[in-house]
Amino acid sequence: MTKLPAALALAGATCYAAVASSVLLGYRGEPGVESKMLVTARADIVPIQYLKVDAGLSFNLFQNNGLGVAGLGLGVVLFSPAGLTLRFAAQHQQWNDWQAGESRALATIEAGPVFGLEAGFGVARRVPVFGADDYRSPFGWKSDAAEWNYVYRLAWKFLQKENWWLKTGFSSYDLFTLHSPQQFPLRLSGSYALKDNLDLVADVGTAIVGYSGGLVSFHELTLNAGVKYEF
């Protein structure tokens, strides 16, 4: 048990740090519900070995204008050869026109990449909050509409070339989103190295709904494109 604090202290003392930041412009549409542009900024930081921090903000344009989502995640690497990581995260999303918000907490176990595969599963607490006084607060964790959700993800980097790669899979969560168990989200993402430390990144996603009732349809579309810089 004394080895872990010692390792953390050693890693801290050697000033181990890696930072990647990205800025993306995007779109999210859901028939009858919302159609908006997104501006998203996020940072992925490894302040010390075995510790990962990711944080970001997403802003809405043209509908529910203003801050849309804030997300913060903290991961502890348990077994680095398999990328096995215990991750805790918190999110707050708000829809300003509707005076509605949602606070979320997630706990997941993640693994990978191993042979191009990444996986994760866990649980999440979803707490919807309503009303002009409350919906903006990320500290609203009581609601008569709160529920537990299970979360999962599986991604496969199926194409890796010298300057670019493509990844596909399904993921019910990321830094900013938490899909419900009634949705089955699909995503395709890619990256192209523009120059050292600078990548062009993009993703497209949708979700299947209605499968629990046997009547399947596609329900949402998300598109994001931007740049990622590694310091």
Partner: protein, 281 residues
Amino acid sequence: MSSRRAEMLCLAALLAFCACEWDLWGIVTRKTVEQRVQENLTGQPPAPGPVSVNPDSFRFAVFGDPQIVHDNVNMLGRFKQDIAARDIDFFCVLGDLTNDATTDEVDSIKLDLDRVGVPCYVTIGNHDLFQADGWERFKENYGPSCFRVVIAHRIKLIFLDTADGTIGPTQFDWLEKELRDSPFIKIVLTHYPVYDGEEPIMWRLASPVERAKLQSLLGKYDVYAWCAGHIHGWRHAVVEGVNHFTCGTMASGELDYGSGKGYLLFTFAHDSLLWQQVVFE
């Protein structure tokens, strides 16, 4: 797992798939909620009109999911006894009339609902669309899946089509218009619940964003209740002043949870509306 066992499992899955009474191609090529609602709003077939009740005092029952199968076992006979005993003027059924939507099942449940002996309003559930002609048969028997009716100039009942697990743009606009223009007590009746307890289930309306927008509208326009079926059980929660009911079932099989065999009973009297869960022992 041995290869022999895997083969047997695959064979069993294939047999189950082939033996299923659902018309899988019909399900895939069905009319979507958006198409059904657009049809509904043309006025053909016409929406059912208001029933005649004593405007100062009346009662109505709400339940979901008779969901009969080929043996046509359900609780409607038991319910018919309550109609007289509790002086119920009319009732509302929240979809899943049958399990497989076969012709025999559709005809049987229509007969059973007629036999109850008082008027009923019906909206559609996912199981009602499990045959290629499911939507056409539903329209023929009950009219539109999305409509509204005002009872005694007191209560506006808004029936929504959520059989696909979503609402769709046209119906969302229509709902807001119906909520905005109404001085009545408003109740939304549909198949899928918006909220249903804390467990990680997959039988609520699908999209959390859609649910946030919906709840925002329900609160903004002082909706009295959202009444749903789909889940065979009873649940009640109050979210921002809006009652969310999972109303119980008339199905004969096992419950998903709780004491849900029965119905939700509304009583309007002295200018106020009261609700009560009626449990079949």
